[in-house]
């Protein structure tokens, strides 16, 4: 099941089938998200305008563009993090496994269980390494053996060998790169389908960055990853698909983001279709 729905009946009729589409089918070629005419407003001001594309399952999709192009805003739409921002409004349709992500019957907490997030700056809780990873499963009341669950998450995050002898140590004593991998372990401990990453390496040194990038490639066998990055070369290195957003200026001189091109990453970085993409990836415009 993709997520639990709230108990109240759907307005205007019988409850629709909430069984996610294709959950047990081969997922390689399917899109886990479909975005159609998605616009986002903050207090009525347009931030992202009419974006539409599909996010393929078990692939890494990168969102790139200059500051203010709305890529982080759009990323936060994918697990309803914008719900937490007063005045934020999402228009259009975003489906997750064929279900309307913004249906009033969908529980945002369950959405965020299935669609985890890793942020720019590593943000471990001031707790032990073990408790950081165990936090999500405990809150969600997951029934699995917690020791096994923590070990599995740390292994998948390529961190187990480094921390297995000091699980009770504070997570705050880890290096920045280790902390970020811990945050990835924490995100995958709740068994999500998708990991959203908002500039996950911008606070890390090159070696730690390379390790996170290698980890992303390992994780995509099990998870779909969507990454926002300011580092164009990182998008080129790690992603299968790339969406380029530009900053447009509206009639009222307010800036908003718009999707210019979405294609295979190889195509975006060797022969993009749109001149604006070409100008951005070659550095002719910021």
């Amino acid at each position: 099941m993709a997520w639990k729905v709230k108990e109240e009946p759907a307005p205007g009729g019988a409850a629709p089938d909430v069984t996610p589409q294709g959950e047990h089918a081969p997922t390689g070629a399917q899109n886990i998200f479909e975005l159609q005419a998605v616009s986002v407003r903050y207090s009525g001001n347009l931030a992202v305008k009419e974006v539409g594309f599909g996010v393929p399952t078990n692939r890494i999709t990168a969102l790139i563009g200059a500051s203010g192009c709305g890529k982080s805003t759009l990323l936060r739409c994918l697990n309803r993090m914008n719900d937490l921002i007063p005045g934020a409004r999402v228009e259009g349709t975003i489906t997750y496994k064929g279900q309307d992500l913004y249906s009033p019957r969908v529980d945002p907490v369950q959405v965020r269980k299935r669609i985890g997030m890793v942020f720019q700056k590593p943000n471990p809780f001031p707790k032990s390494i073990f408790d950081n990873v165990a936090f999500g499963p405990r809150v969600l009341g997951m029934k699995e053996d917690i020791n096994l669950l923590v070990e599995n998450a740390l292994r998948r995050a390529s961190l187990w060998d480094e921390v297995k002898d000091r699980l009770k140590d504070s997570a705050l004593g880890m290096s920045g790169g280790q902390q970020q991998r811990l945050c990835i372990a924490r995100a995958i401990a709740t068994e999500p389908d998708v990991i959203l990453m908002d500039e996950p390496c911008s606070a890390l040194d090159p070696i730690s960055t390379a390790r996170i990038e290698d980890l992303m490639n390992e994780l995509k066998d099990r998870y779909t990853i969507v990454i926002v990055t300011h580092n164009m070369q990182q998008a080129a290195r790690v992603s299968d698909k790339t969406a380029y957003f530009s900053v447009e200026v509206g009639d009222n001189d307010r800036r908003y983001g718009r999707l210019i091109e979405y294609d295979d990453t190889e195509r975006i970085f060797t022969n993009p279709s749109d001149q604006r993409t070409e100008d951005y990836v070659t550095g002719k415009v910021g």
Binding site: E213, R237, E266, F269, T270
Partner: protein
């Protein structure tokens, strides 16, 4: 002592390794083409010549794949240092090996033109027969040098290539004395072209050797100065 970090950029290095493997396997393809091209000349085997021509499609297909793969690698992975040198060496080597395949096709295309019972001059054919294994050996040496990052073995190709150069010159000299019979002169002309094609293949192996030395040393230089005259022997 520096702390050893685990190997990183796994996708990039795996891809680069895979592309190098593709290029190395192209050497094997063209070695087979050289063998068959020489054999079809020696035996006037038109059917074998056709096979050589058709087999070039495989080399061309792999050439295109490798070229695209390396282009993607440069665009997506921004290789630096030894990795960058290897990428560029593979780009050039890819072209050289593809050209070797084309030269084998050139040789094979001359076979049907020689007619079913050409006016064979055995001494000329014997020289072509000697050039075959020498050419094969140089291609294999170029591959081994690249594979093992052996700059000395790569540079040794220059000495090896003198053998091919001398055989080619010898073919040219003998062709000059072939006589006045028109058919014999035409056939001899074909043989001088074949000698020239094999000699060109040898040059490509030396060029590949220069790429290997570039990967190893980080400095690109030509092993020989092509404009310098080594001796006064007539140039074909």
């Amino acid at each position: 002592m520096a702390v050893s970090e685990p190997r990183t950029r796994l996708v990039f290095h795996d891809e680069l390794e895979s592309l190098e493997g593709e290029v190395l396997s192209m050497f094997d393809l063209v070695v087979g083409m050289v063998d068959r091209a020489v054999e079809c000349v020696l035996n006037q085997d038109v059917e074998l010549a056709r096979m050589v021509i058709e087999s070039d499609d495989r080399v061309d297909g792999r050439y295109l794949d490798v070229n695209q793969g390396l282009l993607n690698l440069i665009a997506l992975q921004a290789p630096v240092a030894t990795d960058l040198r290897l990428v560029f060496a593979l780009l050039y080597t890819n072209v050289h090996v593809e050209r070797i395949g084309d030269l084998c096709v050139n040789i094979a295309k001359l076979v049907p033109l020689a007619g079913e019972t050409p006016p064979i001059v055995p001494e000329l054919l014997e020289l072509i027969e000697k050039m075959g294994p020498q050419t094969r050996s140089q291609i294999e040496q170029a591959k081994l040098a690249l594979q093992n990052r052996d700059a000395d073995l790569a540079e040794h190709l220059v000495i090896q290539d003198d053998v091919l150069d001398d055989l080619n010159k010898e073919i040219f000299r003998k062709a000059l004395t072939i006589g006045t019979d028109e058919d014999r002169r035409e056939w001899a002309m074909h043989m001088t072209l074949i000698g020239r094609y094999l000699e060109r293949i040898g040059d490509h192996t030396v060029d590949i050797g220069e790429q290997t030395a570039f990967v190893v040393t980080g400095e690109f230089r030509e092993f020989t100065d092509a404009s310098a005259r080594k001796n006064t022997a007539p140039r074909p």
